[in-house]
Point group: C2
Chain length 394, copies 2
């Protein structure tokens, strides 16, 4: 069972924000948020009053929720009975009720409105994102564990990559290595319609293809029905092989990209890869509490421009992504976003992935990505696998 003191701290920070907005209750429904605030991911909803202890309403499995969640738990057949149970607990029906507008489907939203017909609903998702952006020591330890595991997994890559083998055959072998380290398999993203399967195994021209995701990389994928990531393309010497993978362990995710090549890279791509390392160094040197994420984006843009690589930064043409990093934790797409317009300063204990990448249509993608913790005065690397270009003998 998750430590109650840990959960209390999380709930208290949310309640501060609720009180600032005169919100009387928050019903947490999305599974990742539910886990964060209750310790369980069962079929349940967490009722958080503006002050005092939350109450978990659980449909299935009640028994597992009892073992996982330290909050009081009420077993229900339907969430429609929530108001009656709240009344029994001496809690009055909220007149201002927060919900997760960014992820909650309309049908569920209308369902809650029917159950609480007198409540004015409001969007509480910005508060959740802001609370979750600051990681506790408990969470940081789990993130570091995920970083270690992914270093272990990536240490197998060089023995998997081979000329003539398909991207998907290589990816499959890497996935099984990840699973054997207890990688959970399902990557969690918050953005609507966004998805990843482990990450992207990208080689040569196929790896330069953009995707629907709000990211720098895509990949050919298996077809229009799965248009991202590894494809049936076979690996060849001299092309960049970029692996952008998410590790998820104990619910916590790290994001890391490494670039490999069988033989050696063409000079221009090799140089571009060195520029991604230069961007990483320059950005990380600036990281400390107080700096604006937008400044870090500017740094990346400026170095790319100096090297005449701006047209290739984070994609190509109309598919260029306009950010060079993103927060990460229980979900891959958390704040802070390292992009123009994101001026709210970094804070100690934020965790983000920094991913400078250059995409060359017809040739491929090169880049580096690491996950970093903002410390009291700088940044600490969580994804500890070496950064260098990895050359595999032909």
């Amino acid at each position: 069972m998750m430590d109650k003191v840990e959960l209390k701290g999380r709930v208290a920070r949310l309640q501060d924000k609720m009180q600032e907005s005169e919100c009387q209750a928050f019903i947490i429904i999305q599974n990742v948020d539910l886990y964060y605030f209750s310790g369980t991911m069962q079929n349940a909803q967490l009722y958080i009053p503006a002050a005092g202890e939350p109450v978990l309403f659980c449909r299935k499995s009640y028994q597992r929720a009892l073992e996982e969640c330290p909050w009081p738990i009420i077993q229900v057949g339907s969430f429609k009975t929530m108001p009656r149970h709240l009344g029994d607990l001496g809690l009055e029906a909220p007149s201002r009720l927060a919900l997760e507008y960014d992820v909650l489907p309309v049908a569920n939203f209308l369902g809650v409105k029917k159950i609480f017909p007198h409540a004015k609903t409001m969007d509480g998702s910005p508060w959740i994102k802001s609370v979750r952006a600051l990681k506790s020591p408990y969470e940081i330890a789990l993130l570091k564990n995920a970083g270690q595991k992914m270093a272990e997994v990536f240490s197998r890559v060089a023995s998997i990559i081979r000329t003539g083998k398909s991207e998907i055959a290589c990816a499959a072998e890497l996935e099984v290595e990840a699973r054997k380290t207890l990688h959970e398999g399902i990557i969690r993203l918050r953005g609507y319609n966004q998805s990843l399967f482990f990450g992207h195994f990208l080689s040569g021209a196929s790896g330069a293809l953009p995707s629907f995701n709000d990211g720098a990389t895509g990949g050919a994928g298996l077809g229009a029905f799965f248009p991202q990531g590894c494809s049936e393309k076979t690996l060849a010497p001299g092309e960049p092989i970029a692996l952008d993978y998410v590790g998820i362990y104990n619910g916590y995710q790290v994001d890391q990209t490494r670039t490999f090549v069988i033989g050696s890279l063409p000079e221009a791509l090799y140089k571009a890869y060195q520029v991604t390392l230069e961007i990483q160094d320059a950005v990380i040197k600036q990281v400390k509490p107080g700096i604006a994420p937008s400044q870090l984006w500017d740094t990346a843009v400026s170095i790319a421009a100096q090297n005449e690589l701006l047209d290739h930064l984070q994609g190509y043409g109309s598919d260029q992504a306009k950010f060079v990093g993103h927060g990460i934790g229980l979900e891959v797409d958390e704040p802070p976003v390292l992009a123009r317009g994101f001026d709210a300063p970094l804070l100690e204990n934020m965790v983000f992935a920094l991913e400078p990448k250059f995409v060359f249509p017809g040739l491929g993608m090169v880049g580096i990505e690491n996950t970093w913790l903002v410390t009291a005065d700088s940044a600490e690397k969580i994804t500890v696998f070496p950064d260098e270009l990895i050359q595999i003998p032909e």
Copy 2:
């Protein structure tokens, strides 16, 4: 690119339903629905008027959408410009506009309402489910291909299972076999907060644990942060090892469960497994266009009761699932549902999974699941791997 005639048929069937409800336009946003009606899954929205050709508005990647979707495509930086483009095309702003209430997040919904401030919005998701429930010959061929692939994958199971090996180690090896047959990895479910990673590898007591999913099975999983499917538990002789797996190929999914044992099953579990086969036979004998799904549920309940197994059917205690089958296709949880109250008759070309299972707390789960096509006068099996209990020598 997907055949335009195939897509036209799908859109026409949706437009019939739109016209019946005096709906003037449907904006399709969810990625699976988008793929079904447009052939692409890029970052795009499909505007379907009540009559005439749809228009795809695409943010990213426009180039890939052009290669995948035969409808007219307009590249946009933001979907906010949709009304202006519609005006240019001579289409007037809709006064009654359908959206996918069951899956669309509130924030996206409010975004559309802002873009079309004079439109009355309505829930079009029931129409989509009803259109998608009838599979075309093209879709049936893909479903049969998925069934063949999963038979190939399951033919490897007996060589993977071994006393002392962990569920997750076995599951990982099975996953890599699936991936090498081009299994896409991401299982698609429509229900909110529902998820699966390939499916469930369940052994003994751990396999009898319920999950948050609306299904008969759960499994211990890796922890509260991933509370379903395979765990670190090791396999032992004499316990049921039930594999409930979804195959997804070319976007189309089949669902199949088989029961294995190292050595032999205790008599009571062996008998229970035979009863699941008996239920399957009895239900399938009844299947033809015109029969109500609720009748099929009644058949399953009645055979379970005759064998004094009703308390174990589809779970145990308050976690029993109240259905014995479900439609399947691009998503795992499609209509028809084989449960009480579902009286709308089966139609030719519906595809469903039938999954009678018995759960014994502390002992495990036994069951069978196959995916079936409703033909003109009966049912055809799509998941062709043999049904028998598979005994692996100790």
